[in-house]
Subunit: 412 residues, 2 copies
């Protein structure tokens, strides 16, 4: 393989969320047994913005931006200055630590855009990067693309009680071994666990002691269940110049179709990100940026209703999953991901995901996408029509029953 072929061999996307349409369908399905189960198809690989539409006013804000014309079409690489000023005030209040609009905030093409730019700003050939296992699939791919060195740290969420379950001793050992960058999502994707105040405090202390830069992906940090508290890394002992927080309105707020995100924190890192933005895509779509005016400005009742409805779906799906023998699952504390670990099956994990698609009309993301420690899990984004999601997960239960390895065979 040529050097560039080697680089791209690490970026496989065939099992990535949203790409299932490109997988071969068709009748040929060797290894599958039994009939197809009837029912409305549900794509759990991402949220359904038809079930949870954007806040009223989002489209109006876009149309106003369009009519504003050239000044909205051609913003600075960082994004429109007026919109950045509004966002800086709101994000400072939300995270408990103020920020300046001029140097500490960039509007990006989605939270993915923010993550790419932040990683590109900090990781180059040989940079040692701590990545949580399991965590968002792109984290590992980005380290590989920028030719950094992956230093995985396990998150054992199923055994962690009130903690998220990060192996903090392993984290410190990695920091001591020369890690320069830590990237993590909080709440964790795919498990939905929230790092405790103690865990965030320890991570911040360690990062400060070893001079590690931290990228914290807080994409789901507004959708908290049961009145749970949330510790923003920005409001800890973490040195401000070494921290970038990323988030965006694509999930809880259902604005994914506008491709909007933000990164904020260290002025040095944000400046590099703007330079990179200049050669990556110039700016987040100018007219879309205007939609940011509605973000963190939603009616309070709207957000409370959104959380309550997600919590109700979560609870119904959890009850079904916990009724399946051998399934282990922890209740998500935030966000809209459920990540059950399946019992041993008679077919391989990727084959089971395929069986779900073909036989049950259910699309899920295989746990292996999130790291070796995700093996055996499947991820559901349950931001879906409630009744359709319940019926779909019941079909999943049926298929687990169909493909479960008999206890005798397991003990053999």
């Amino acid at each position: 393989m040529t050097p560039v072929e080697t680089k791209f061999a690490g970026l496989a996307t065939e099992n990535a969320p949203g790409q299932e349409v490109r997988l071969a369908q068709g009748a040929a399905a060797p290894g599958l047994v039994g009939e197809e189960l009837p029912g409305r198809s549900v794509d759990f690989s991402h949220g359904d913005v038809d079930a949870f539409p954007p806040v009223n006013g989002a489209l109006d804000a876009f149309v106003e931006g369009f009519h504003r014309g050239g000044s909205q079409a051609y913003t600075e690489y960082l994004g429109d200055a007026g919109i950045r000023a509004e966002l800086a005030a709101r994000l400072g209040a939300f995270t408990g630590a103020p920020l300046t609009a001029d140097e500490e905030l960039i509007i990006t093409p989605g939270t993915q855009g923010a993550l790419f730019l932040a990683m590109g700003a900090l990781v180059t050939r040989g940079t040692k990067v701590c990545v949580v296992d399991p965590d968002y699939f792109a984290n590992r791919k980005l380290v590989r693309f920028f030719e950094g060195e992956l230093m995985p740290v396990t998150l054992d969420h199923l055994a962690a009680g009130e903690q998220a379950g990060l192996d903090l001793a392993r984290l410190e050992a990695a920091f001591r071994a020369g890690v320069e960058v830590l990237v993590l999502s909080n709440p964790n994707n795919p498990t939905g666990v929230v790092y405790s105040a103690a865990e965030i405090g320890t991570i911040a202390d360690l990062a400060a002691r070893y001079g590690v830069r931290v990228i914290v992906d807080q994409l789901y940090s507004r959708l908290l269940y049961d009145g749970r508290s949330y510790t923003h890394m920005r409001a800890t002992t973490m040195p401000r110049e070494n921290l970038v927080t990323i988030t965006g309105p694509s999930k809880t707020e259902s604005l994914s179709g506008f491709r909007l995100g933000v990164a904020f924190g260290s002025a040095t890192i944000i400046e590099r990100m703007a330079k990179l933005q200049a050669i990556v895509s110039l700016r987040a779509a100018g007219y879309s940026q205007a939609v940011m005016k509605t973000w963190f400005a939603e009616p309070e009742a709207w957000m409370q209703d959104r959380i309550a409805r997600h919590q109700a779906i979560r609870d119904d799906l959890l009850a079904i999953l916990r009724g399946i023998g051998g399934v282990m699952v922890r209740s998500p504390q935030a966000g809209s991901y459920l990540f059950p670990k399946l019992p041993e099956l008679t077919i391989a994990p990727l084959e089971f995901v395929r069986a779900l698609r073909i036989q049950a009309g259910v699309i899920v993301t295989p746990g292996t996408e999130f790291g070796p420690n995700g093996t055996g899990g499947i991820r559901f984004n349950y931001s879906q029509d409630h009744a359709a999601a319940v019926a779909a997960v019941q079909r999943v239960a049926t298929l687990v029953g169909r493909y479960r390895r008999p206890a005798l065979a397991r003990s053999a």
Copy 2:
């Protein structure tokens, strides 16, 4: 400097188009002489979409996309399959060589996004890349970012007669020396010259002979003056598997605020670009993609009118520029860039650009942004209000007169 600092040192953006708002303004302007010239400010760093608005129906297409909901918000990384099918047919017809929607086309966040993905798909550490001097400023920055090796080839457009003026002997020497990738814009940015059929034919033959991959940026290839013919590289001897063509509706069609572009050609390269898109920003904004339905579907009279109006502005500005002693300028054959070379001045080129901004209310892009061979030039994007552009270029003429180095001093 750390390795990552070194990487970003090559990505300076302070003189890049559209970033002028971040430059220190204020009264302190040492070295400037004389009074400020009154008149409406004109920002020639990019086109004015208020003077040349998008085609009717663009916003409607977006709104329809929004109401289509989830299927439009979450497309494949390549972009919505139905829209790709429409575009593939139109782009195949436009470029004189058919293409398949499924594997040979990707919708990107602007043409910049297409360029980034194409370069990322082909350039890694040590890849030798031919870049034209002068050419679009991001080409060189992208080679540096991906740690390729720059192999510049001069375009002498002022001395080239009916040719664009690329040094084809130097190009072949570079290919012989191991170049793997050639990137060029046609029409050339910043000069507005169009490569002749003979030049494109030779480039294609050489690329075929030496196995060089070619990225051709045809962003302005629809805005052709005087009924000029245009040779699409796709419709030559250039091997299909080694060619990617990029373009988009941000310029002639004024759709920049939606951030849309395309790349099409080699299935191998497009596949890599999709993998990279997955970690860069997932997809072009889903709702924006719907606006592509209006592209290459504009009323013919609309496009003819747009070309005629740009040509009229071009001719008026050329007349003013040619009336300034010592200015050398070639009439652009396509697009909306004028790139006059200024006479020797009493202040440095970047200082003169600053004087234009502060004393004449005129923003232009310094020629040095486009490569060493651009030194002494300034770039105008004259897709502007006609009268305002004429008045602004007259102010430029006044300031050239004010800062022109006397003939005596020149000969000294």
